[in-house]
Symmetry: C2
Subunit: 320 residues, 2 copies
């Protein structure tokens, strides 16, 4: 089978044997995969990754212990948890210290013709959801995680900083949940995607000119992936307000903690989320994820797909 | 009257006229004042401060519009709030954007024979509380603020990093509230103060040798005032746990945000608190604040008192 391989910053395709299916696992055939910011970071050598990446996918079950799964179109939770530790027992396998993570830590990823996941990680997709929408489920779940972690009153006004893939999905998800979302970004064409469904958008060039609203929001989501974004998010938050850190900034971030303490801000780190919370959004008319698709490539053209995904300003690139 | 004066790093005493008493204010005569870390920072020139410092105090009311206050021994909330803004209406005058702060921002402090505060800021002390205990009310309220902001289940185990004045008071307060407190510090003699009332203490030199407990606590209070403390606090916190930032680190803190996001930590900035929450602690047998008193000086010897307070390892210095 064809499998994408990342090593030392280089993307190649390799021919590998179809992986064996362990007990309790399903063997999956890739239908569509999404290249994520994390995949590009793995390519850049963060985490010393070498192997098959890919954790955003839709696949067909080709082998499974559970006969009802055979032939089904599925998505899958990316954390392979041990199921018996304290975290797993609390339903927080996403924090299981023994976990491996599909295409990220210790388990080969979805950017291959065939790959495996535990059957318990799988969710069967309704027939009416197109594959090109369902492939967004993993990042949609990450956006939903905000609402799992932080109790935000219905109808509240929130700010989202950043108009990359995750920033747009977060704005779409929060908007679909009835919040009044103000999104700040750098790209008019990207902001137009969320503006069309009612998000109030503002070009961040305005922020640079000092028009950044100071202490204006009780909830601010930083999805910029930049140290400046985190500092801006803290400055935009009202006393006793909450900053949700949704994007990792690599390397050292220089922070002034004084505003956090003086204004008694709460900062909440937020990572992946429950697929069950995000599944209903695949049918929501305001969650127009397909507008984020920038390009589609066959799996065999993964090097070109990664190169395209790494270009500045490019949104979601799919592998099919 | 004698008043302490801070300017350009120098502590002097000056002879000033007794301040006029505005409508709604009380004129107060200092009985005891406590030199706080913030006072030493004001001396070092943070915030461009020049004037009379002092915000931890016990005083006698010598003039007031409310006759019942005359002659009473009082403590006082340090934020002079506008009373009519959104924050004041919510009972959060501590975040009033129009506020001045006794001895810190725009209002002369308590390190003077006489000073003024709004009558509404005052709390009359019960006769049985010694002045040398009551002078700790302001930092005790700051310690109580943690419990106002973060819902911690009864009997939970918490870590406190730092054994300075605030770290010790926080450990005493949390211990008195029935929490199991593990305190990490650098000074055996200081840690002994909290160990005597049941706090589990550990010398931080152990931490330096790699014995720092990693991902071991759901709640960690950083009261170290150092960038290393904040990083250690984040490392010691379990996934989905909470770090309470109780001490300002001046200047830039270099942080790696990845552990905060991957482990979905919550960071809560925490500043001053409600005096009403702390008042009952003045009668609590486990809150042995008087053991923190390192020295007492008359107001006229404020320069010596500040010099003593600034010495490494010295706990609370009182002005009387």
């Amino acid at each position: 089978m064809i499998a994408v391989h990342l090593e030392n910053g280089v993307v190649t395709t390799r021919t590998l044997p179809v992986p064996p299916r362990p007990e309790g696992f399903a063997l999956l055939r890739l239908l569509a995969g999404g290249i994520c910011h994390t995949d590009l970071e793995l390519q850049r050598g963060y985490y010393g990754f070498a192997g098959t990446p890919g954790h955003e996918f839709v696949a067909e079950v080709v082998e499974a212990g559970t006969r009802a799964l055979l032939g089904k179109r599925v998505v899958g939770e990316i954390n392979l948890a041990c199921t018996h530790c304290e975290w797993c027992r609390k339903g927080l396998g996403r924090h299981c210290p023994n976990r491996t993570v599909l295409g990220i830590v210790g388990h080969p990823g979805a950017f291959a013709e065939f790959f495996t996941l535990p059957e318990r990680n799988l969710h069967v997709l309704p027939d009416e959801v197109p594959t090109s929408r369902a492939v967004f489920l993993e990042p949609l779940a990450a956006a939903c995680e905000i609402l799992d972690q932080v109790a935000i009153p219905p109808g509240a006004t929130l700010a989202v900083l950043g108009d990359g893939k995750l920033g747009l999905l977060i704005a779409l998800v929060l908007n679909a949940h009835g919040y009044r979302v103000h999104q700040f970004g750098h790209h008019a064409a990207k902001l137009a995607i969320t503006a069309r469904v009612g998000v109030v958008t503002e070009m961040a060039t305005e922020m640079a000119r000092g028009a950044l609203p100071i202490a204006a929001y009780d909830w601010v989501v930083d999805a910029t992936g930049s140290p400046e974004g985190l500092r801006s998010a803290a400055a935009m938050t009202r006393p006793r307000g909450t900053v949700i850190l949704k994007s990792t900034v690599h390397g050292a971030v220089v922070m002034d903690t004084a505003p956090i303490i003086v204004n008694e801000l709460t900062l909440v780190g937020s990572r992946c989320g429950r697929f069950a919370a995000a599944l209903p959004l695949l049918g929501h008319p305001l969650v127009r994820v397909e507008e984020l698709i920038a390009a589609r490539f066959p799996l065999s053209e993964a090097p070109q797909a990664f190169a395209r995904a790494a270009q500045r300003g490019v949104l979601k690139v799919l592998l099919e």
